[in-house]
Symmetry: C2
Subunit: 178 residues, 2 copies
């Protein structure tokens, strides 16, 4: 099937602070045209940061899902114009956990919900951790609790995490360690 298609129209339906909604028109090779609602998102990064003893997680309130303390990988949106994703990941690891890492590599990259959103998340593996001299520096209004999770209880973290980036990052880490 794998036919090509092209976008032939796009109208902004709503502009939020982080995401926006467009109604796009697409044309297939056979001439059929369809309208699709598309959420525009800047994309994000997440970090699986571990040393010999811990994988470093955070708990924070997530209003969208009504959870006052969701357990997640440290992460952040690509919301600084021109900043490469790896640099965003390095910045977020300092801001949320207060750590730097010597070694970085891309572990996974994925679309969160390709049926209606263009959000793509890159998950990095960060090792060779040292304390950042400046310590954690949460953004104003962020309520982040740092959670050093014992690496030997990684399966429990997979059980406890409830969001895509954290499950993907920790399942991939678990596969690497087998």
């Amino acid at each position: 099937m794998r036919e090509e298609f092209q976008r032939v129209g796009s109208t902004t339906a709503w502009e939020g602070r982080i995401v926006s909604a467009r109604v796009e028109r697409w044309r297939y090779a056979d001439g059929e045209e369809v309208d699709r609602e598309v959420l525009g998102h800047p994309g994000a990064v997440a970090v699986v940061a571990h040393d010999d003893e811990h994988v470093w997680l955070v708990r924070q309130p997530r209003e969208a899902v009504g959870d006052p303390a969701l357990l997640e990988l440290p992460a952040g949106k690509l919301d600084v114009e021109g900043e490469p994703p790896l640099q965003t990941a390095q910045r977020e690891l300092v801001e949320e956990i207060g750590k730097r890492a010597e070694s970085w590599r891309e572990l996974e990259a994925f679309y969160t919900s390709p049926g209606f959103s263009d959000e793509r998340v890159i998950v990095y593996l960060a090792t060779g951790l040292t304390d950042a001299p400046e310590g954690p520096q949460p953004d104003e209004g962020e309520r982040i609790e740092i959670v050093p999770w014992p690496l030997e209880r990684l399966p429990d973290a997979i059980e406890a995490c409830q969001d895509a980036k954290s499950l993907i990052g920790l399942l991939a880490l678990s596969a690497l360690r087998r």
Copy 2:
């Protein structure tokens, strides 16, 4: 930290066909109030369906991410009022793959992007597959190619898939089979 919080206001900013956007106001235990943009989504199900030889995947155009043939688990939105998620998953497996399954169990459940969306996806494991007499029945306008992926090449499917539900489902299947 784990303080409680409560929603004290919600305004609809945009109503699409599938998703809607709200601006919600939340109050923390310490009295601080914040505004959050929240995408409302009905939720979805996905199915890891396999027999001894294949895990059954689909390719379909995903306009939101500009991919004419994204490789994914069969899946669907919870868009039938009152239909329990397991029943939606069973219906989608018939419609997209043309299979029924004798055995069903929940493999994972996750939020796709809890920073701004309430979408939650339940991933089921389906085994004991038989051909559905009615065969695949794609919805009007769906362009779905059925992809029987050899189970022995599961790591390649994990490499080829690019979306959250498919990575989570296939990584979890891979962990089960070790």
